[in-house]
C-alpha cells in the first residue's frame, strides 16, 4: 500500500450513496458543503471548538471539520438535511421553534445534530445531561437558556403540532 493524495470515496449521506474523488486533505465539512452541496452544515471556527459542523457518522456525533473526507470511505453520515421527513419537522426542530431556541440560526444545525445524538442514546436526559451533550456547540445568540428548554421539551414529546 502506498499513500495517495487523492482517493475515491463512497459514503452514504442521508440515505443516498455518493461516490467522489476527493483530495486527502479535504475536510469532511468542505466535502459536504462544497462537493455535495449540503450547505446546512456550517463552519464557525477552525479549531473544532464550535460544533456548528456537527454531523452524525455511523451513529456518533462528530465535528465534520475534524475529519478528512477520505477517512469516511464506507461510512454512513446524517446531516441536518435528514432530520425532517416528508415535510414534517423532527420533534427537536419543532421544539427549537416553539421555545425560540434559535436566533440567527447559524449554530442550529450542529446544535440539533448534537441534541439528536443525545436523544438517540438517552431518551430522558436531565438538564445537566442536556448541557453536557451540547457542551461542544457554541451559540452566540441565546445563552443556551431556550435551547436547553427545547431539548427537554422534545425529549418529553411536548412539542406543538
Amino acid at each position: 500500500m502506498e499513500p495517495v493524495t487523492s482517493k475515491r470515496v463512497a459514503v452514504t449521506v442521508n440515505g443516498a450513496l455518493h461516490e467522489r474523488d476527493v483530495e486527502a486533505r479535504r475536510l469532511l465539512v468542505h466535502f459536504l458543503r462544497d462537493d455535495l452541496d449540503l450547505t446546512g452544515t456550517h463552519v464557525g471556527c477552525d479549531t473544532g471548538n464550535c460544533g456548528a459542523c456537527t454531523v452524525i457518522v455511523d451513529g456518533k456525533a462528530v465535528k465534520s471539520c475534524m475529519l478528512l473526507a477520505v477517512q469516511l470511505d464506507g461510512a454512513t453520515i446524517e446531516t441536518i438535511e435528514s432530520l425532517a421527513s416528508d415535510g414534517e419537522l423532527h420533534p427537536l426542530q419543532q421544539a427549537f421553534s416553539d421555545h425560540h431556541a434559535l436566533q440567527c440560526g447559524y449554530c442550529t444545525p450542529g446544535m440539533l445534530m448534537s441534541a439528536k445524538h443525545l436523544l438517540d442514546h438517552n431518551a430522558e436526559p436531565t438538564e445537566n445531561e442536556i448541557r453536557r451533550a451540547i457542551q461542544g456547540n457554541i451559540c452566540r445568540c441565546t445563552g443556551y437558556v431556550n435551547i436547553v428548554e427545547a431539548i427537554a421539551a422534545a425529549a418529553k414529546g411536548e412539542v406543538s403540532a
Binding site: D46, G105, G143, V145
Partner: protein, 827 residues
C-alpha cells in the same frame, strides 16, 4: 440549572386588553428554514467558475513593506490571479474618514499600502480554483518587511515619542476633545468628599459572531455593476464607504444578504475586504468567493473599543448623593478608525448612566494602536461608559461605607422625573430603575444574602452580590457626529419599509433592515397583521436584504437597538398607507360612503355596517394590478404599493456646548448577580443571576427575552473569559476558541428574568429599541467580586475583565488595587 421566571409583578402600565398579534409570542417565521439547514448564508451561494480568495496577511504588528512578489503564486497551476496594495492604491481612493485633523488625514485602503499596522492586516490577495489551492498559492507570495516598533496602548500612543502609525497624519490621535456639562467646579465646592480613582480599564473583546465574514462578489462587465452576496449588516453605510472608494455611483453596488450568522456590530466595517473582492472580480472577470476563518476574524476583523479611564474624581455629599464626575478617557481604536471616531461621542448618550449626576467633565482622546481595528460591538461605546458609571457607584459606596443598593436608589433618576433631560441634553424617555432593581434583588433572594454568605464561608467560599444598572439607548441621532466634526453632514436617522398588496392579494413586506437573528420577519408581520386585519401567516416579509429591491434609506441597517422603533414605525407607516389605499379602493368598488366606512378584517375590506358587502384582498390586488380599466381618476394614486420612511423627531445638536438629544429611547436593564469565589484558586461561579428588562411595550415577549439571554451571555463571557490581549510584539494571544473561551452550555449560570413595561412616549407603539443591553452582566460580576472579596482586605476591582488569575491576584495583594483609590476631603 436554568430557570426563567417572569416576575409576577404587573406591568407598569396596563393598557386595554391586547387585541391582535402584537404582544403575543407567535411562532417565528424564520425558524422553518433555519431548523432544517435551509437558511441561505453567504457561504452557501455559489457561481459557475468562481474563484476562492485567500488573503496574505502581515505577521508583523508594525512594519514597512519593502517589496511584494506574487510571481510564484501567479505561476502556480489553478491560480487565477492576485491583487496587491499598489494596485489598490492606483484603482481606488482612500475610504472616507469622519474625524477632524489629524484623524482625517489617515489613508485607509482595502489592502495595506506601503506599510502594515497590525498583525493579520491583509497585504495581498490570491484567487484560485479551490479554497486549498488559494491558500497554497498565498504561501508563495514573497513579502519583504522592515519591522517597526509597535505601539499597543492608547495612552502610550499619544506620548510625544510614540511610534506613529499613520505618517500622513503625523500623530496617533484620531480625535480628542473636552466635554463640560453642568458646573463641575461648583459640584466640587458643594461636595463633602471627593473619591479619586487612578485608573479604571475596560478591556478589548468582541461578540465573535459564529458565522465569520465573507462574500461572493460578481462583476457584470456590461453594466459595470457589482453584486455582493455577503453578510454586511449595514449595507447602506457600507455602500457609502465603498462606492466613492471604487470611484462609482452607489447604484453600481448591489448588496444582497439573506441569513446572517450573527453580527453584533462586528459586520459593519467589512468594506476594506469587500473592496478588495470587487477589484478582484473586475480584474479577473470572474465571481470571487471569500470566507473568513475564525483565526482571521479574531486577529483581523473588528474588536470592541478598549477604554482606559484615568484620574477619576467623584464629588459626593455626606449622605451619599453623588454630584457628577471628572475623568480623562483614552479610547483605543486599533490600527484604522473606520467607524471611529463615533465611539468618542456615542457614550454620551448615557453620560450619567442611570444617575442624577448633573456635573460632568470628560477629557476624551482616541488613538490608533498596532492592533486590530475596532468597530461597533453590542453595547457600542455606551457599555464602556456604563461600566464606568457602575464602577464609580460601587467604588464610592465601598470607600464611604455605604450600601450599594441604597446608594443606587439615592442616585437613580426617578420614574416621576421622566422624561428626564441629562446634563448634556439627552432625554431619557421613561423607566423605573428602582423598581427594576427591587425585582432583580427579589429574584436573587437578596433578603437571605447574609445567611448565604455564612453558608458559602462554611464551604471555603466567599459570596458576593453585585448589581449592573444599564440603559440600552436606541435610535441614534446621527447629528451627534457633528459634535465630533461640525463639517459632517449627517443628522437625524431614518428607516424604511414597503408594504404592498400583490396580484393575488399577497401582502408583501420589504424592510430596510438587515437582520442577523433579530426576528424582523416575525415582528414586522405581527404589526402588519394587526393593522390589516389578517394573520401573520398572511404576511410575507422578504427574508434578508437586497439593496436593489428592498427600499432602503441612508441609515438603513440593523444596529444600535432601533428596529422596534425605526423599523416598526416604518412598517406601521407603510401599512397604514396601504390600508388607506385599500379602503379608498373598496369604498369605490363597494359603493360605500367613503374610506372611513370600510373596515379591514380577515383578509377582506368590508363595509362597516354591511358585512355582506366585502371585497377580498385578492380582488383588491387584482383590480389595481391587472383589471384596472374604468377605475375612476380619484384612485389614480392608489398603487397598493406603499413605501414609508420613518424619521425620528431629532434636532441638530448644539455643537458649541456639545449639547442635544442623541437618542430617542432608553430601555433599562437591571441585573443582579451572586458569585461564589473559591478562596484558594480565585475560580468563581455565578450561583444566582437575575436580569430585569424594561423595553417599553413588547411586541413579541419571547423574542425580547431571547435578546436578554443573549446579551447577558455576552456580558458574562466578557466578564470572565473573553479578552483580546496582545503580547509585546503585537501578537494577539487569543486567536481561536481554545484561548478565547466563549460561554458554553455548562458555563452559563441559572438565569432568572423579570420585566416591567414602561412604554416610550416617543414611539407610537410604546416600544423601545433593545437587544444590545449595556453590558450589565460585566458590571454586575465586577461588583459581585468586589463584594465577595471585601473580607480579604477590600480590594478594588478596577478592570472589566476578571479571569480567575486576576481574582487570585486581588485576593493575594489587595493593597495593590487599593493604592489607586483615595477619599479626599472636599476643598
Amino acid at each position: 440549572m436554568s430557570e426563567t421566571t417572569a416576575t409576577t409583578a404587573a406591568p407598569e402600565q396596563v393598557e386595554a386588553p391586547q387585541k391582535g398579534f402584537a404582544g403575543q409570542s407567535i411562532p417565528r417565521k424564520e425558524d422553518k428554514r433555519l431548523v432544517q439547514g435551509e437558511g441561505v448564508f453567504f457561504d452557501d451561494v455559489k457561481r459557475h467558475g468562481m474563484g476562492y480568495v485567500h488573503f496574505v496577511r502581515s505577521p508583523y504588528a508594525h512594519a514597512g513593506i519593502v517589496s511584494i512578489d506574487v510571481s510564484a503564486a501567479e505561476a502556480m497551476e489553478g491560480v487565477y490571479g492576485t491583487l496587491i496594495g499598489e494596485e489598490v492604491a492606483a484603482q481606488t481612493d482612500p475610504f472616507f474618514e469622519m474625524s477632524t485633523p489629524p484623524g482625517n488625514e489617515i489613508r485607509d485602503y482595502a489592502l495595506a499600502v506601503g506599510k502594515v499596522r497590525f498583525a493579520g492586516e491583509p497585504v495581498a490577495a490570491v484567487v484560485a480554483e479551490t479554497r486549498e489551492l488559494a491558500r497554497d498559492a498565498a504561501e508563495l507570495v514573497e513579502v519583504e518587511y522592515e519591522p517597526l516598533e509597535p505601539v499597543l496602548d492608547a495612552v502610550a500612543a499619544v506620548e510625544p515619542d510614540a511610534p506613529v502609525l499613520h505618517d500622513e497624519a503625523g500623530s496617533n490621535v484620531v480625535w480628542s476633545g473636552t466635554f463640560d456639562w453642568g458646573d463641575y467646579d461648583q459640584a466640587l465646592a458643594e461636595a463633602d468628599r471627593v473619591v479619586k480613582i487612578d485608573r479604571l480599564y475596560f478591556h478589548r473583546f468582541s461578540s465573535t459572531p459564529l458565522e465569520c465574514a465573507g462574500a461572493l462578489v460578481e462583476y457584470d462587465r456590461g453594466t459595470a455593476q457589482w453584486t455582493l452576496h455577503c453578510n454586511h449588516q449595514m449595507p447602506g453605510i457600507g455602500i457609502v464607504w465603498m462606492a466613492p472608494a471604487l470611484r462609482v455611483g452607489s447604484d453600481k453596488l448591489r448588496i444582497v444578504t439573506q441569513d446572517i450568522g450573527g453580527g453584533f456590530g462586528n459586520k459593519i466595517t467589512l468594506h476594506p475586504y469587500f473592496v478588495a473582492l470587487c477589484l478582484l472580480a473586475r480584474k479577473l472577470n470572474r465571481p470571487v468567493h471569500w470566507t473568513e476563518w475564525r483565526t482571521d476574524q479574531h486577529t483581523a476583523n473588528t474588536h470592541g473599543n478598549e477604554r482606559t479611564f484615568l484620574d477619576v474624581e467623584v464629588p459626593v455629599k455626606a449622605d451619599g448623593t453623588m454630584l457628577g464626575y471628572k475623568v480623562r478617557a483614552f479610547d483605543d481604536a486599533g490600527a484604522f478608525p473606520r467607524y471611529e471616531p463615533l465611539g468618542c461621542i456615542i457614550w454620551a448618550q448615557v453620560t450619567p448612566g442611570c444617575y442624577r449626576w448633573r456635573h460632568v467633565r470628560v477629557d476624551f482622546t482616541q488613538a490608533c494602536t498596532n492592533k486590530s481595528p475596532t468597530a461597533p460591538n453590542r453595547g457600542y461605546s455606551r457599555m464602556q461608559q456604563l461600566w464606568f458609571t457602575e464602577r464609580v457607584i460601587d467604588v464610592v459606596a465601598s470607600e464611604l461605607g455605604l450600601d450599594p443598593v441604597e446608594v443606587r436608589k439615592r442616585n437613580y433618576i426617578r420614574s416621576d422625573e421622566m422624561p428626564y433631560e441629562t446634563p448634556n441634553g439627552c432625554v431619557y424617555d421613561s423607566g423605573d430603575y428602582a423598581r427594576c432593581l427591587d425585582i432583580a434583588l427579589d429574584l436573587v433572594g437578596y433578603d437571605r444574602l447574609e445567611e448565604r454568605r455564612r453558608d458559602a464561608e462554611s464551604r471555603g467560599k466567599l459570596l458576593g452580590l453585585g448589581i449592573g444598572s444599564t440603559l440600552d439607548s436606541g435610535t441614534n441621532n446621527f447629528g451627534q457626529s457633528q459634535l465630533l466634526n461640525p463639517e459632517l453632514q449627517f443628522s437625524g436617522n431614518n428607516e424604511v419599509a414597503s408594504v404592498r398588496l400583490d396580484i393575488f392579494g399577497e401582502i408583501v413586506v420589504t424592510l430596510g433592515t438587515t437582520p442577523q437573528g433579530q426576528s424582523h420577519e416575525t415582528v414586522a408581520a405581527q404589526v402588519v397583521a394587526d393593522l390589516l386585519g389578517v394573520t401573520p401567516d398572511d404576511v410575507h416579509v422578504r427574508a434578508g436584504h437586497d439593496s436593489y429591491w428592498n427600499s432602503h434609506a441612508g441609515f438603513s441597517g440593523t444596529y444600535a437597538s432601533q428596529f422596534a422603533v425605526t423599523g416598526l414605525e416604518a412598517v406601521k407607516g407603510a401599512t397604514l398607507a396601504l390600508a388607506d389605499q385599500i379602503r379608498r379602493l373598496a369604498a369605490v368598488i363597494l359603493g360605500a360612503e367613503g374610506p372611513d366606512a370600510i373596515v379591514l378584517e380577515e383578509g377582506f375590506a368590508k363595509v362597516r355596517d354591511n358585512p355582506e358587502a366585502a371585497l377580498p384582498f385578492m380582488a383588491c390586488g387584482a383590480i389595481i394590478n391587472v383589471n384596472n380599466a374604468g377605475l375612476p381618476p380619484e384612485l389614480d394614486d392608489v398603487t397598493l404599493n406603499c413605501r414609508y420612511v420613518y424619521r425620528p423627531p431629532f434636532q441638530v445638536p448644539d455643537t458649541e456646548r456639545k449639547f442635544g438629544n442623541l437618542t430617542l429611547t432608553y430601555a433599562t436593564q437591571i441585573h443582579a448577580c451572586v458569585v461564589e469565589v473559591d478562596r484558594e484558586t480565585g475560580v468563581y461561579e455565578i450561583v444566582d443571576y437575575a436580569a430585569v428588562d424594561d423595553c417599553g411595550t413588547r411586541i413579541h415577549p419571547q423574542i425580547v427575552e431571547g435578546q436578554v439571554h443573549g446579551a447577558t451571555a455576552h456580558a458574562l463571557g466578557a466578564a470572565t473569559f473573553e479578552t483580546f490581549p496582545y503580547d509585546e510584539d503585537g501578537m494577539l494571544q487569543t486567536s481561536n476558541f481554545y484561548d478565547y473561551h466563549v460561554p458554553h452550555a455548562l458555563d452559563m449560570p441559572p438565569l432568572k428574568t423579570g420585566y416591567i413595561e414602561s412604554p416610550s412616549p416617543f414611539s407610537s407603539l410604546g416600544t423601545k429599541g433593545m437587544g444590545e443591553g449595556g453590558g450589565a452582566g460585566i458590571h454586575a460580576v465586577c461588583a459581585a467580586l468586589q463584594d465577595a472579596l471585601r473580607p480579604l482586605g477590600n480590594p478594588v476591582v478596577t478592570e472589566s475583565h476578571n479571569p480567575y488569575h486576576r481574582v487570585w491576584e486581588l485576593m493575594r495583594d489587595p493593597e495593590a488595587s487599593r493604592a489607586g483609590v483615595e477619599v479626599a476631603a472636599a476643598r
